[in-house]
């Protein structure tokens, strides 16, 4: 590996424990106090510019995105500046009896309209569960199929689940993966029994896709 490409040559603000993904260490502000935690951050080409999620729900993050020209970008969301530059957060009242972690999703639109993505196959648990080869995510495409059964959703809907993200990582290819990429193996491992005993991610994904044909 080119040493200058490791962590985008910024090991202070990024980590890369696996060598596969750069994980950005950026701040988010949730609840009553700022939390400097790793979060999903970046620009998703077709729409969402930032997705921030409370660490109590998710931890690591993929900071590897491409801009509309196909080039990599490490743009960080408005809410995510460097720790030293961070403004003091205004304390917000904490709701009572709120034990469920809050998921905050910032879905700033980059352009008009939702970013539709498609997946060939049936509306089944198995088809919505990744295989062993899907270590980098379940494959979707931005190209509407012209034949056969397919499923449709949008990048915004997937990211809006708070536990899954859809990242456009090729000209027409979109990978759907857990916000916490380290949960990918357990999702993959659930595939043999997905039909009868689906993983929660499968059910979440199923809840935001619809049969297109």
């Amino acid at each position: 590996m080119n040493l200058y490409t490791y962590c985008y040559n910024d090991p202070i603000n990024n980590i890369d424990p696996t060598g596969h993904f750069v994980i950005g260490i950026i701040p988010i502000i949730v609840g009553t106090a700022p939390e400097w935690v790793p979060v999903v951050a970046g620009v998703i080409t077709t729409g969402i510019t930032a997705v921030t999620v409370n660490e109590t729900v998710v931890k690591p993050i993929i900071n590897e995105f491409r801009d509309s020209n196909g080039a990599y970008t490490t743009n960080k969301p408005i809410a995510a500046s460097k720790p030293n530059d961070a403004p003091k957060p205004t304390p917000k009242p904490q709701p009572k009896n709120n034990s469920t972690p809050k998921v905050v999703v910032n879905t700033q639109k980059k352009d008009d309209g939702p970013a539709f993505i498609y997946r060939l196959g049936n509306y089944t648990n198995t088809n919505l569960t990744p295989r062993e080869k899907d270590v980098s995510g379940l494959s979707f495409t931005t190209v509407k199929p012209t034949e056969g059964k397919y499923l449709v959703t949008t990048i915004e809907q997937v990211c809006g689940t708070g536990v899954l993200v859809a990242i456009k990582d090729g000209a027409t290819h979109v990978s759907v993966m857990p916000v916490n990429i380290f949960q990918m193996p357990e999702w993959i491992a659930s595939r043999p029994k997905a039909q009868d005993n689906p993983h929660a991610f499968t059910l979440v994904l199923k809840s935001v896709v619809t049969p297109g044909k």
Binding site: R66, G70, Y72, R119, L120, G121, N122, T124, T126, N127, R131, K133, D134, V135, S136, L138, S139, F140, T141, G148, D169, G170, A171, H173, S175, P192
Partner: protein
């Protein structure tokens, strides 16, 4: 695997500049036959589309050792290169490809991989127009009727 081939395969990534991708494709066309199967075992999906193009360009018989991998590519038609893999398989002589198809069907049946079976069926029935008589064993042909 030779380090040269590793580097060339990395250069198949769609994130690479176009001229580097094209150069990698051109140079991988010279890959020795015994090394050809590595093109079906690449972990990085960003390289798959161009790897499928290389296997298509290499053609049969030089891609013979990659035929099982090409059929495995049909497990998910959403994968980069899956359509190209199907096109490559479709152009191979029926008598040559059917034994590989039969092996794949038996494996898919054993693994209860009905999505894979459906995709193989789409290739051999709807695209290649094969019939029961093209198969050596009727019971294997009948596996094509298994669905999710």
């Amino acid at each position: 695997m030779d380090n040269d081939y590793k580097n060339l395969i990395n250069n198949l990534s769609w994130d690479m500049p176009e001229f580097i991708q094209k150069d990698a494709i051109k140079r991988l066309l010279q890959i020795p036959e015994e090394e050809v199967p590595i093109l079906t075992r690449i972990s990085e999906k960003k390289c798959w589309e161009n790897a499928a193009i290389v296997l298509k360009e290499i053609g049969y018989p030089r891609n013979k050792l990659a035929l099982p991998g090409l059929i495995e590519w049909l497990q998910d038609m959403n994968w980069p290169g899956a359509t190209t893999a199907a096109d490559t398989l479709r152009k191979i002589d029926i008598k040559i490809i059917v034994p590989y198809i039969e092996e794949a069907l038996l494996k898919a049946s054993k693994e209860e991989d009905y999505i894979w079976i459906t995709n193989i069926k789409e290739l051999v029935i709807n695209k290649m127009m094969l019939s029961e008589s093209d198969f050596s064993r009727k019971e294997v042909y009948e596996l094509l009727s298994l669905e999710e």
